[in-house]
């Protein structure tokens, strides 16, 4: 009886999440199972602060839009469903990623997730993928943030990671990459708007990294300087940077160093 009530409550919680009941959803996002395991995750988000200065309809609408955006982000980063973890950690995490609109490649050679860009049809990994590891993750344009990323980092054996254009990937996520430092060889963080130079500086811990794409990072200052310092620190690394800045006098001063200082630049700039 108790179990049924618990499951019923979970079901109600998940459907309410999907139907935009914002206040209940915030409290429901931590299920009883995960609350014991990770006591400091998601509980800490202080969203009980309501803006009581809503004077006009437009401000109410702005608040509604902000809450909806927050809800979309939180629902993409929910804790892993224990049902999916029955088939193993790899498949459970892969299902989590697919629900967040990413694509996952297993070592049996098949891609799971949305088949064509923009299509709604997804292929989920089932029993045929048991025993295989996740090789590559294409999570570009998803809403994964550091809570979901922490679950993804429990996978060992991820070689290719593409988190291009994710708005919530920030320095803490790049610091989390240290968990897959033994297997990661190709990393793509183009166009991530929340990454700063402190986050990129922590990538020296990925000792097996061979290719890094870090073009178009708006908050990273001195990106070419950091790229060359990374190439010094990590053996076998080659960095691809495509900078939007046109090569003029004022932009060189902005970058805070000149080509002569570095000698022969090893970054490929187009």
């Amino acid at each position: 009886m108790n179990l049924m009530m618990q499951q019923g409550r979970l079901f109600v919680q998940r459907t309410l999440c999907k139907t935009c009941a914002m206040q209940m959803a915030r409290r429901c996002l931590v299920t009883p199972q995960t609350a014991k395991v990770l006591p400091w995750r998601l509980n800490n988000i202080q969203r009980g602060y309501h803006n009581i200065r809503l004077e006009t309809i437009s401000e109410v609408w702005q608040q509604f839009k902000k809450e909806f955006k927050y809800l979309k982000r939180a629902s993409a980063n929910r804790p892993l469903d224990p049902k999916d973890l029955n088939l193993g950690l790899e498949i459970g995490t892969a299902v989590f990623l697919i629900k967040a609109n990413a694509r996952v490649h297993f070592s049996n050679g098949r891609w799971y997730g949305r088949q064509q860009k923009g299509e709604r049809k997804v292929r989920l990994p089932a029993e045929e993928a048991v025993g295989y590891t996740v090789n590559a993750i294409d999570a570009s344009g998803t809403l994964i943030d550091q809570n979901g990323f922490r679950d993804v980092m429990k996978l060992t054996g991820v070689k290719y990671l593409n988190i291009e254009g994710c708005p919530h990937i920030d320095d803490t996520c790049l610091a989390h990459l240290v968990h897959i430092r033994d297997s990661l060889t190709h990393l793509n963080i183009n166009k991530c708007p929340s990454v700063t130079e402190n986050g990129v500086a922590t990538l020296h811990k990925l000792r097996k990294l061979e290719r890094l794409n870090m073009s178009d990072l708006p908050k990273v200052r001195y990106s070419k300087l950091i790229a060359s310092m990374l190439e010094d620190a990590v053996p076998r690394l080659r960095v691809n940077i495509i900078s939007n800045l046109v090569d003029t006098e004022e932009n060189r001063a902005k970058e805070n160093f000149t080509e002569e200082d570095l000698g022969q630049t090893r970054t490929e700039s187009v």
Binding site: P39, W40, N44, I45, Q46, G48, Y49, N51, E55, T56, Q146, D171, T172, A175, H176, V178, H179, T196, E197, N198, G199, A201, T202, H204, K205, Y222, L225, I226, M229, L230, D232, A233
Partner: protein
């Protein structure tokens, strides 16, 4: 229903507002809602500005926090963040520019490599908080806080005779869930080729949640969010306490149970004025940093009778520490962690232009005097530079660009925090004595002290080991470190 006189008064104010409203409409002003807001403000009961003296603390407040540094602001934030409790918070800080505060002068580093589990848990909680700081401390309408957290890690080096300490600490840290790895001499040589690993046999490298941040931004974010949530900061100094002991009963002092004596009110004297305000408060939290020992003496802690547990003073005093900023053109690059040499000196990278910060704790016998914050550059030449040059050979060529000094709130007993209430006074709490690792524990301490006030006990982490009782029984809780 409004009385006639008030109606007339309101109508008069309305017509004043509407004329400006008409003017705004006529001129095609952009902010159409401003006149509506003026009317609404005119209709509501507000205390006129000249009667609202916000510089003077109120006569009664729920929690009074002495000292507005990182600890005080963090406690104020967590108390106000628990909105349902509805606690009124006043923070009294005598130095509005924070010129001598340990918070702003600190190097701002955070690590999990302690040997006491409570310290490790507090640092882990604080690291989680700092990583989620945008969710916690963002004030609506202004920029999100940017703490510049560099997740680079600490590297403790150990010689052959201290190796076992590092091994044992590593097991404790792993059990608590810290992400630390041990590196042998060969691994160190391969990973950090610029380092001289002559007599070093083992290194402990922090992989995650360790590094350094900007302490001034942390203080500013805590303070602004606390003020936004309703805490009040006052530029004043605490000069006395009033105690009520009507219900005090004689008790066994070794039991450390409160005997009914309470702090009734605090005498707060305004800066540059002879005015003294008596502020009645339910709880008083002492987070005055290096000056906590002095303030304790005002309460009689240290000068009272032994039967009431008032014979031991708060063992916190200021100690001066120097930090030097130098430039080394060929120094280690991105992979430079916060390196701690077996001799006690530390060095870390600052920015990306070949600049570094370094320092060292001096020996007990030659502690510098704490009268002012002047820097002694000979200390660098004699104590730090030889060790640095021995450990990192390229640092033989460097140039000191600048230096500063700051105070540690040094706990003379065991250099660990004192968190908790005093046995003699039921409502007097302390959070001081961090001896150099205050910044990294400030979010956790804020949460714990707010729990102690609101729920009566520590819920997140049990830090009863760090209570004031150990100062009375003189049983230190020492950190086993390699230096």
């Amino acid at each position: 229903m409004l009385k006639l006189g008030r109606c007339v008064h309101l109508l008069a104010r309305c017509t004043n507002q509407t004329s400006s409203f008409a003017r705004t409409l006529a001129s095609g002003g952009t902010d159409i809602t401003k006149p509506f807001r003026q009317i609404r403000d005119g209709l509501s009961w507000t205390i006129p500005k000249d009667l609202q003296n916000s510089d003077r603390p109120p006569g009664e407040v729920d929690v009074l926090i002495i000292g507005g540094g990182a600890m005080g602001s963090s406690i104020a934030y967590f108390l106000k963040a628990a909105r349902k409790a509805g606690v009124s918070v006043a923070v009294v800080e005598r130095d509005s520019g924070y010129s001598m505060s340990s918070t702003v002068l600190s190097v701002g580093s955070i690590r999990q490599q302690f040997s006491t589990p409570e310290n490790i848990y507090m640092s882990m909680y604080s690291a989680q908080f700092i990583k989620n700081v945008q969710e916690h401390l963002q004030v609506e309408g202004s920029d999100p806080p940017d703490l510049q957290f560099n997740d680079q890690g600490y590297l403790f080096l150990a010689t052959k005779d201290k190796e076992h300490i590092l091994h044992e600490n590593h097991i404790i840290q792993k059990n608590c869930g810290a992400k630390v790895e041990l590196m042998t001499q060969n691994q160190l040589k391969k990973r950090f080729p610029w380092m001289n690993t002559d007599n070093v046999t083992l290194g402990s490298y922090g992989l995650e949640n360790e590094g350094w941040l900007d302490p001034w931004s942390l203080l500013k974010s805590f303070k602004e969010k606390a003020i936004d949530l309703g805490a009040k900061y006052y530029n004043a100094e605490v000069t006395g306490f009033n105690v009520v002991d009507d219900d005090a009963k004689p008790i066994d002092p070794t039991q450390f149970a409160p005997n009914g004596r309470r702090l009734n009110s605090v005498m707060v004297s305004m800066i540059n004025s002879p005015e003294v305000v008596e502020v009645k408060s339910s709880y008083v939290v002492l987070t005055a940093g290096a000056w906590s020992g002095q303030l304790g003496k005002l309460l009689g802690i240290g000068t009272g009778p032994k039967e009431e547990n008032l014979h031991m003073p708060i063992p916190v005093e200021p100690r001066k520490r120097y930090v030097y900023f130098f430039h080394c053109p060929e120094g280690p690059g991105l992979e430079c962690p916060l390196l701690i040499d077996p001799s006690g000196s530390y060095v870390r990278r600052e920015g990306f232009g070949g600049n570094y910060l370094c320092g060292k704790s001096p020996n007990e016998c030659d502690e510098p005097s704490c009268e002012d914050l002047n820097v002694n550059y000979d200390f660098f030449d004699t104590e730090i530079w030889p060790n640095l040059a021995h450990r990192i050979p390229v640092m033989e060529k460097l140039k000191v660009k600048s230096a500063w000094a700051g105070y540690y709130d040094y706990n003379c007993l065991d250099q660990n925090a004192i968190i908790g209430s005093h046995p003699a006074y039921g409502n007097f709490l302390m959070a001081t004595g961090f001896s150099g690792h205050g910044i990294q524990q400030s979010p956790a301490v804020g949460k714990l002290v707010s729990e102690k006030i609101l729920a009566g006990e520590f819920q997140t982490i049990d830090v009863s080991k760090f209570g004031f009782e150990r100062c009375i029984t003189e049983t230190p809780v020492l950190e086993r470190c390699v230096i």
